[in-house]
Each structure stands twice: as C-alpha cells, then as structure tokens.
Amino acid sequence: MVNIEVRNAYVDFPIFDAKTRSLKKKVLGKVGGKIGTDSRVPIIEALHDITLSLADGDRVGLVGHNGAGKSTLLRLLSGIYEPTRGTSSIRGRVAPVFDLGVGMDQEISGYENIMIRGLYLGMTRKQMEMRVDDIAEFTELGNYLQMPLRTYSTGMRVRLALGVVTSIDPEILLLDEGIGAVDAAFLNKARDRLVDLVKRSGLLVFASHQDDLLLELCTSAIWMDEGHLKMQGPLRDVITAYKGKDPFENIGAETAARLGLDTHSAVKGGDT
C-alpha cells in the first residue's frame, strides 16, 4: 500500500544567527540573568497546519507563488523534514527530484552521481550498473558523464536526476519545479518516460509553473499560499482559481492534441 498521511503538520525553521547558534548565549545567559528582550530564536513558519491524504494513483500538481512552501511541502512528503508539530506518515519507495544546483559534491563525475543517487533511492550497486548505460543513453550526456558535476549546466543536472528516477520504479515520485530547466526537445522525450512512469508508480506530486506539463502529468492539484494549503481539488479548478483563468483556454494546439482533447469542448480537468 502506498500512501502519505499528513495531519496538522507545521514546519517551522528556526533561524540561528551567529549569536544564538553559539554556546556563548546558553552558557553565559544562565549566569547573568535575563538580558533584556526574549532570547528566543526567530522562526520562519514555512508550512502552517497542513492536513493532506494522498494515496495510490494520485497525481497531484503543486502550484503557488515563490516562497509559498511548495519545496518545503515536497520535502515534508519525502520525509526529509519531519513536522515540527503534527504528524506525517509515508509508506512507499520515495524518489525525490529537488532543485539541482546544490546538494551533490561538485567534484564527482556524472557516473558517480548516477550511482550515488541510485544507492540513495534504495538500489544496489549491481542494479545501478545494469541501468547505467540506459541512463547514459537517455540523458544524451555522452562523454560529459566522465566530467565532474561542476562542469554541468542546470539543465544537464536535471537530465541526470530524471534519468535516474525514471530508470527505477519508485512508488512515490516527488518533482520540484527545477525540472522545467531542460530544453524542449529533452522535455518531450522525458515527458513520455514520465507519463509512463507516473502510470506505473503509485503517486506523483509535481510542483510546476508550466500549465501544459501539469495538465499532462496531473489530475488534481494543491494550491499553496504563504505556507497554507489554500485549496485542493481537481487540477482544472485549482489552476483556474490560482491563475484567474481556465488553463484550457490558451493551451497550445500541439499539447491539446497530445492530451487528446479538442480545445473548444475541453474535458473536465479532473477526469482525464
């Protein structure tokens, strides 16, 4: 059974400046008595009272302005952050793809990166060695795979990460908006693999600002606003409410054809 249950979850980031992070205050503070104003650490409330239940077969788009808490929610769903208050329980094999500029050692090669990502996703070395050629072919990175990661552009990193997650069979796929960084040609190719993967894998949560990608991969959506879960429902309704216009109105002809709908009598978003 694959599912994610989040109950009344809060994510509060304590912001330690140099002073509060050091021992000095803790130790000296006890001796000297109260020093003026409160010594509490300032907090950024990134997620506020999130209650969410996702199950097998859900394909959820995540929309919201910058800083609304989309990435933080994805990290909560992946188990990287555990809620400061409330609970979250996750069952299933999670494969997250977050913003890719950071995170990995910049000196390791593309091949090493594939291996390490695979190991993190619970694969064995043998399993990854079997897949590495397939991933190399899919990512079209060629000789770049021997180069250190610091020589990669953002799009190339995305290719790598997508290559790894689409070559294994995760049950919970969490994609952050960074994957929009690849070029159109690769996106077309990746889309097929993603659609295929999403059909196989149980659960997708996908943060994006690109309507056509969302329409293609997701059936429902969540609108995050300033850390609050503002709205959850069928994809079309949520995007309409978020953007103030129906996403099917100005959808490209090509995308419409691929989605198998005709632009004038657009099907209800939630049913496709």
Partner: protein
C-alpha cells in the same frame, strides 16, 4: 467546483506505526515506511537499523571521500600511508633519544599509538562535522542519519587500514626486538612480556573502537549541527589531548621516577582518568607485546554502553531536528 481543504479533523493520533512492513523487491528500490510520530525510541532505533542496512550506500560514500581527497595527486591514497610513516619514524627517533629508549621497541610503540590516535582524532573532529558537511545530501535525498555517521567511520577505517601498512613494516623490521621481554625505556621498573598469540586481541579491541566511533560521530554530529562552536572547541583541545595521552610518552616513564608506584600518588590519574588512554591501550598493548590489563577493557566497555545510551537519547529527541539545523 473548487472545494477547499477540509477543516482539520479532530485530532486522532495516528496509529500506523508498524515499521516492519518492508516488502523485499528484486528489481526496484526497497520500501521505506516513515510512521507519524518523530520523537520515539522506535524511530531512533529504526534510523540506526536502516542506516546499517544501507551498507552499499555508506561504504560507497566512504570510499568516494578517500578517492576524492587524493583525486589529482600522483600517489593517491598512498599519501595516507606515507605521511603516517614519516611522522611515526620522526617522532620515534626523536623521543627514543629524549627518553633513553631502544629504537627497536620505542618506534613500534609510537607507531601504533599514533595510528590509533589518528583514528580517534578523526572520530572527534570529522565526527563533529558529520552532518554539517553532508548538508546538501541531507536536504536533497531522504536517508537515515546513521548513514552519514557510518560514512565518516568507514572513511576513518579505510585510513586506519592504510596506516596499518606502516605498522606491519615496522613490525617486520623490529620483530626480533619485540619478541622477548623488553623495557620501553631503560629506566623502566617493569618488563614488557613481548609479542605472543594475544596480538589477536587487537581485533576485538579495534571493533570496540569502531562501535564507539559510530556513537561519537552521531552524538557530536547532532550537537555540532545545533551548536557550531563545538567543532571549534574540539579542534582547540585536540593538540592538548594528544600530549596528555600516553602516545609519544609511556606511563613507564612516569612510574620510573618513583621507587614505589604508591609514591606516584595522584600522578597516575593523569592517564588513568583519560578515556583515550584506555582505548589506545587495548589495541596497542597486544600489537607490540606490552603487558595487558583487564581494567582497560572494563573502562572501554563502560564508555561504550554509556556513550550509546546517551546517543540514543539524543537521537530520540533531536534526530528529526538535524535537517532543520544543518
């Protein structure tokens, strides 16, 4: 019609928490079940258990570190061996003359002491850095925290292995000096028995050191992520610790100053109260044929149990905070 998020239901606490429902799958990644509550003993133990079972991951990362560190050097990881060899020979030559000791027995003494010290120092300094240096990975890929502690310990173990080459070289050269009874320094009142089968005791002794290395990395790792002064404190104290611990000097030097050991009085506590002395002694004594004492094992055993108990408590309470703090 858009519908809004249902109002939070009355708080019914989740009781999903069977952590053992991982179904093995040949082709795909293994399942992780992350139950609701964070601050539980079960989660702390699960972190350690799952971390240990990710053997391929931490061993790969540990090797990666070694390869990365010597990536563009000609000799590569051989530098580990080489620098240990140079240090041990240099210190051995110097201190054997200062203390009036035979090179043939004092050089092995310093070599082994220094090799074990390198491992312990690594556990303290790199252990404190365990989570800080893995910030990127922690925030991008979900994994048990124990994986990073094991990465650190495994890396140090590999370095220890490289350093052992120096020990075996020294052993080969001075084997005859270590075989019979010998004195560490000329003035020593006691004889050391010399090498025998008990050299094998070094193996369980090192395993104990390893087990302690893991908790030290976890504990110092968590604490240092929250209080960034801790790594500084450790590095500030490390040189002092080195000279306080009988590594380049021997406890025999101290006792040689007194005709009766009872006269030494409080001075024996200089080393007896130093936990590192006991860790070094359980490994060093068998490896160079020194007199062994059971009390070192008792102390180390006690520290192992106490250390793990404290670490489990910290893991229970603050494990989930580390990704917020890094």
């Amino acid at each position: 019609m858009p519908y809004f998020c249902p109002p939070p239901q009355p708080v019914t606490f989740l009781l999903v928490h069977d952590t053992s429902t991982t179904e093995p799958q040949a082709a795909g990644p293994r399942a992780r079940v992350i139950p609701g509550k964070s601050r539980t003993w079960a989660r702390a133990f699960a972190d350690i258990r799952l971390g240990l079972s990710d053997r391929e991951l931490w061993s790969h990362l540990g090797w990666q570190d070694i390869k990365q560190r010597y990536r563009r050097s000609v000799l590569g990881p051989l530098w580990i061996t080489l620098s240990m060899g140079i240090t041990a020979i240099g210190l051995g030559l110097l201190y054997s003359q200062l203390f009036g000791a035979e090179i043939g027995t004092f050089l092995p003494y310093i070599t082994v002491g220094f090799i074990v010290w390198a491992f312990i120092l690594g556990c303290l300094t790199e252990g404190a850095d365990t989570f800080i240096s893995n910030e990127g990975l922690i925030k991008h890929l979900p994994a048990p925290l124990t994986v990073y502690a094991l990465r650190t310990t495994w890396r140090l173990t590999i370095m220890f292995g490289h350093n052992l080459i120096v020990y075996f070289a020294v052993l080969a050269i001075f084997f005859s000096d270590l075989l019979g009874e010998y004195k560490i320094v000329e003035t020593a009142r006691v004889f050391q028995p010399g090498l025998d089968w008990s050299i094998l005791l070094a193996i369980p002794a090192f395993l104990l050191l390893l087990i302690n290395g893991v908790w030290v990395s976890l504990l110092l790792g968590v604490v240092s992520t929250r209080f960034r002064d801790v790594p500084q404190v450790i590095s500030a104290l490390s040189s002092l610790l080195f000279f306080m611990t009988p590594i380049v000097w021997s406890t025999d030097i101290l006792s040689a100053r007194f005709t009766d050991l009872a006269d030494a009085g409080w001075r024996v506590y200089i080393y007896e109260l130093n936990p590192l002395y006991h860790f070094i002694q359980i490994i060093r004594a068998p490896m160079i044929g020194n007199a062994q004492s059971g009390h070192h094992w008792l102390v180390v055993g006690g520290i192992t149990i106490g250390g793990w108990a404290l670490t489990l408590l910290i893991m229970r309470n603050y494990r989930a905070r580390v990704s917020y703090w890094v």
